[in-house]
C-alpha cells in the first residue's frame, strides 16, 4: 500500500499528495505522513516543487477535515433520536458538547499534528457536537499548517534517508498519541475514584 502510493507520487506528482491527505483526514488508513515526508524529499531533489507539495497537502488536509466535520454534523442530526433514547447516551453527548465548548479549539489544533492519529475522530466529534464551525476551521487551518510544514519540512531536510526518518516519526507519533490517551484516561479514572476515598477517610471522624 505505502509503496504503491509512493510510486504513484513519483509517477503522477502532487495530485496524489492531495488525495492522500484528504482521505487520511476521514480516518481512512492511508500512509499520509510517509507520503508527505517522501514528497518533501522529492522537492529537495528537484522532482517536485516545494510550494506545490505544500499547497496540495495543506488543501487536501483542510478539505478532508471539513468533509469529516460536515458528514458527522449531518449524521448527528439524524441520530438525535438515537442519542436521546438512552439516558447514558444523551449524557455522553452533553458531556462531549461541554468538553468541546471548553477545549474544542486546542483539541482540533493538536489533533491535526501532535496526536495526528486522533485527528479524524476529533473532526467527527466536532461535527456531532455541533462545535462552532468558524472555530473549527481556524484551529484546523493552523493545525494543518504545522502538520504539513513539519512533515514536508523534515522530508525536505532529511531527503537522503526518508525510510529511517519515517520510521522514527511514525513510532514517535504513536508514542505521543498513546501518552495523550493515557493521560486523559488516567486523569478521568483518578477523578472518578476519589469520592469513595473521601467517604472512607471521613468515616472515622463521624
Amino acid at each position: 500500500m505505502s509503496d504503491l502510493l509512493l510510486a504513484l507520487v513519483a509517477d503522477y506528482g502532487v495530485p496524489i499528495v492531495f488525495c492522500v491527505t484528504f482521505l487520511s483526514c476521514l480516518a481512512l488508513p492511508v500512509p499520509s505522513s510517509l507520503l508527505m515526508l517522501a514528497s518533501g524529499g522529492f522537492a529537495a531533489t528537484g522532482d517536485l516543487y516545494l510550494t506545490s507539495v505544500f499547497a496540495a497537502a495543506f488543501t487536501g488536509a483542510v478539505l478532508g477535515d471539513n468533509m469529516g466535520y460536515w458528514i458527522a454534523r449531518g449524521l448527528g442530526d439524524k441520530m438525535l433520536v438515537w442519542f436521546e433514547k438512552r439516558p447514558k447516551r444523551s449524557a455522553l453527548k452533553r458531556k462531549s458538547e461541554v468538553f468541546m465548548n471548553k477545549w474544542g479549539g486546542s483539541s482540533v489544533f493538536f489533533s491535526c499534528w501532535l496526536v495526528a492519529p486522533l485527528g479524524p475522530y476529533v473532526n467527527y466529534v466536532s461535527g456531532i457536537t455541533k462545535f462552532k464551525w468558524t472555530r473549527f476551521v481556524v484551529w484546523g487551518i493552523l493545525g494543518e499548517i504545522v502538520w504539513v510544514t513539519l512533515y514536508v519540512g523534515l522530508g525536505y531536510t532529511f531527503a537522503d534517508n526518508i525510510t529511517s526518518i519515517a520510521g522514527v516519526l511514525g513510532n514517535a507519533s504513536g508514542f505521543l498519541t498513546a501518552i495523550g490517551v493515557a493521560v486523559g484516561l488516567g486523569l478521568w479514572l483518578w477523578k472518578v475514584s476519589k469520592p469513595r476515598l473521601d467517604k472512607r477517610r471521613a468515616r472515622p471522624h463521624i
Binding site: A10, I162, V168, F175, A178, S193, L197
Partner: protein
C-alpha cells in the same frame, strides 16, 4: 492509591483494563521510537536500500552519486529525465528485479567512491 484501584476495579473494570493496555502501548511505541532513532543515527544505514517508489534524482541524492554516473546505471538516455519516473518502472521496463537493480547501483557507487579515493592526493 490501593483503595482507588480497588474502587476502579469494582466499578470501572473495563476502563481500568483499557488504561493498563494503553500503558503497554506507550511502552511499545517508546521502545520502537528509541530503536528507530538508533537505526537512523547509525552510519551503516546511511545508504537506504532502493525501493520501487524512488526516483533517479532521489537515488542520486541518497547515494551521493552524480547524475552522469547514475544515468547509465538506470538505463537513462539523458543524465536525469525531465519527467519523474519511479525506479520500479525502470526495473520493469528493463526486465530487472529490484535486487538486480540494487546490485547495479551498489557496484556503481563502490566504483565511484574508489575512483574518488584514488584521485585524492
Amino acid at each position: 492509591m490501593i483503595d482507588r484501584i480497588k474502587h476502579l476495579w469494582a466499578h470501572h473494570r473495563i476502563l481500568l483494563t483499557v488504561f493498563l493496555a494503553v500503558l503497554v502501548v506507550v511502552g511499545f511505541f517508546g521502545i520502537k521510537t528509541y530503536s528507530a532513532m538508533i537505526y537512523w543515527q547509525d552510519p551503516a544505514h546511511q545508504n537506504q536500500e532502493i525501493e520501487p517508489w524512488m526516483t533517479p534524482r532521489y537515488i542520486s541524492r541518497s547515494y551521493r552519486l552524480p547524475p552522469e554516473i547514475l544515468g547509465p546505471v538506470l538505463f537513462l538516455e539523458e543524465d536525469m529525465p525531465i519527467r519523474r519516473i519511479s525506479i520500479g518502472r525502470i526495473a520493469a521496463d528493463n526486465n530487472l528485479t529490484m535486487e538486480e537493480l540494487q546490485t547495479r547501483i551498489d557496484e556503481a557507487a563502490a566504483a565511484w567512491w574508489a575512483e574518488l579515493a584514488r584521485n585524492k592526493p
